[in-house]
């Protein structure tokens, strides 16, 4: 038994995305969730399932009290930061498919435009867990941790900064079509990329996601009910989480092959349950907290072989229109907004609805992934 095609995303809601929003995270979460329910045409009193990130600041009781929910029969949170996103929706799909709830809401609200809100700045004087083996030596921020893997990848496979630039440039080009994107009116040139300031060599400013405020919510119901609502049906075709052997979150330097990350584990079940393969995916939203996660994800999810991710991005390979696989068609975390990747799921659903601002013509299948470099998750969406 699998959950294949048994549930659908029927509502999408979001706040404005901005460098800084004046509202609280609770205000933002309520706004996005109400928007998603209005989009679905479902009354908040019907919601009986709540799904979010373990890092989400708004607990279920506050969300339920504000939105006037009735009795909630299922609620759950997923850990590992940006690795959670697709699992937040996937778990909701499992709950709906197994009858634990009928109308589930998945959401994330986040304020991190302010530098003081960034987790790396909140480290204490003494460090426990995985970070105790890296922070004392000045490996402080997520960008430092991923840059370490990026340098090794470039050494092993010869990927260049020119190739890495293709991710930043493609996503910016897509954001320039999307009025909701922070970078809507800010074009980016290859020259600007190559002359940008370093953040953690070999990664520069434009290899990083944005620091922004925003919230996104999604509504998940049974596929049968989705068919009774207006518009194209966005079926949740496949879902998997991924935690590979001997993985250590972010500082994944200790397993035999550190460049084989959680995406490789996640893709196993995802494709095993699916009716189609990577070659049949029309459009993908790949988690892009940092640009090197794109070649790693292209390889992990089977779009190309190990070491070929840099080449895959050449010649507009991941650009809309015309790329072999248009990636992050709303601008992604690097150019739309960084909302812990939940805005990648809403864009994946919009592609199936046919309402993206970089719409892939006739898109029927859509892959969405969550954070690579941490225990992760992925969704396959399909037009019903």
């Amino acid at each position: 038994m699998s959950i294949k095609d048994r549930t659908a995303i029927v509502g999408i809601g979001q706040t404005t995305f901005a460098k800084t929003l004046p509202h609280s995270e609770l205000w933002m979460a309520c706004t996005a969730i109400k928007g998603a329910l209005d989009d679905a045409g479902i009354d908040p009193a019907e919601v009986d399932g709540l799904s979010s990130y373990a890092m989400e600041p708004n607990i279920e009781v506050e969300v339920a009290r504000n939105l006037g929910l009735g009795d909630v029969s299922w609620f759950s949170q997923v850990g590992y930061g940006g690795g959670a996103g697709c699992a937040v929706v996937g778990n909701a799909a499992m709950a709906v498919a197994t009858g634990q709830c009928r109308v589930a809401v998945a959401w994330r609200a986040r304020k991190r435009g302010d530098a003081a809100n960034r987790p790396w700045a909140q480290v204490g004087e003494r460090v426990e867990g995985p970070a105790q083996w890296s922070r004392p030596w000045g490996l402080l921020r997520p960008v430092d941790e991923i840059a370490m893997l990026a340098r090794r990848y470039m050494y092993e496979y010869g990927m260049t900064r020119e190739q890495l630039a293709n991710a930043a440039l493609a996503f910016r080009k897509h954001a320039n079509q999307n009025p909701a994107a922070l970078m809507y009116d800010k074009p980016l040139t290859r020259e600007q990329y190559l002359s940008a300031r370093w953040i953690s060599e070999p990664l520069c400013l434009f290899d990083n996601c944005l620091e922004s405020d925003g919230a996104v919510a999604l509504v998940i119901v049974a596929a049968q009910r989705a068919r009774d609502l207006d518009g194209p049906v966005v079926l949740i075709h496949g879902f998997s989480q991924g935690l590979n052997a001997q993985h250590q979150t972010m500082t994944n330097y200790f397993r035999d092959d550190p460049l084989e990350g959680p995406a490789w584990a996640c893709s196993q079940l995802l494709w095993r349950h699916a009716d189609f393969g990577a070659e049949d995916v029309d459009v993908a939203q790949l988690y892009d907290a940092f640009s090197p996660l794109i070649p790693l994800s292209l390889e992990g999810y089977g779009f190309c072989k190990r070491g070929e991710g840099g080449d895959y991005m050449e010649d507009g390979g991941i650009e809309w229109p015309g790329g072999r696989l248009p990636v992050n068609t709303s601008g992604g975390g690097m150019s739309e907004a960084y909302v812990h990747g939940i805005n990648l799921i809403s864009e994946g659903a919009r592609q199936i609805r046919g309402t993206s601002t970089c719409q892939v013509e006739g898109a029927e299948t859509s892959l969405v992934t969550s954070g690579e470099g941490v225990p992760t998750s992925a969704l396959l969406l399909r037009k019903g």
Binding site: V123, E128, P136, D144
Partner: protein, 147 residues
């Protein structure tokens, strides 16, 4: 934000490692049953599931597996040192035993004491020890000429 560099919390699993560095020895945890080394330290051997382990002194020789050069913004303790290097070193005893550290000019040198253009993947290094707190001596790495 904290003013000083963060230090590891000493606990039951990692204490032998830090007792070793205090004596200027780089030690690795070894399974007492199957003999495989593991790092970072943990209670159970992931290969044979034994809960018994011992600690062995390593040669302290290794090679740079990868490195980064962080630039600002950083924690206050690191801001004046940027750009500095952070490396991952593979130990001579086993390529898959790796530690995060810094390449420094000598035991008491700062983490920006070696020009970053002199650091490359494969660089042979030797462990050195720096007193970093009352109970913590951090291993760092200095280039060695013999390969």
């Amino acid at each position: 934000m904290i003013d000083d560099a963060p230090l590891p919390e000493v606990d039951a699993d990692n204490a032998p490692f830090w007792e070793g560095t205090a004596k200027e020895e780089l030690r690795m945890q070894v399974c007492a049953n199957c003999g495989r080394r593991r790092f970072p330290p943990r209670p159970m051997c992931p290969w044979c599931r034994s809960l018994d382990s011992r600690w062995e002194r390593m040669s302290g020789r290794g090679r740079v597996w990868s490195f980064v050069v962080p630039h600002r913004p950083l924690l206050p303790a690191f801001e004046p040192l940027a750009p500095y290097n952070v490396v991952v070193v593979s130990l001579e005893e086993d390529d898959n035993l790796r530690l995060v550290g810094n390449v420094v000019a000598g035991p008491d040198a700062e983490i920006n004491s070696v020009p970053t253009d002199q650091i490359e993947i494969g660089l042979p290094v030797q462990v050195v020890f720096q007193h970093a707190g009352d109970d913590i001596t951090l291993p760092r790495w200095t280039p060695r000429s013999d390969s």
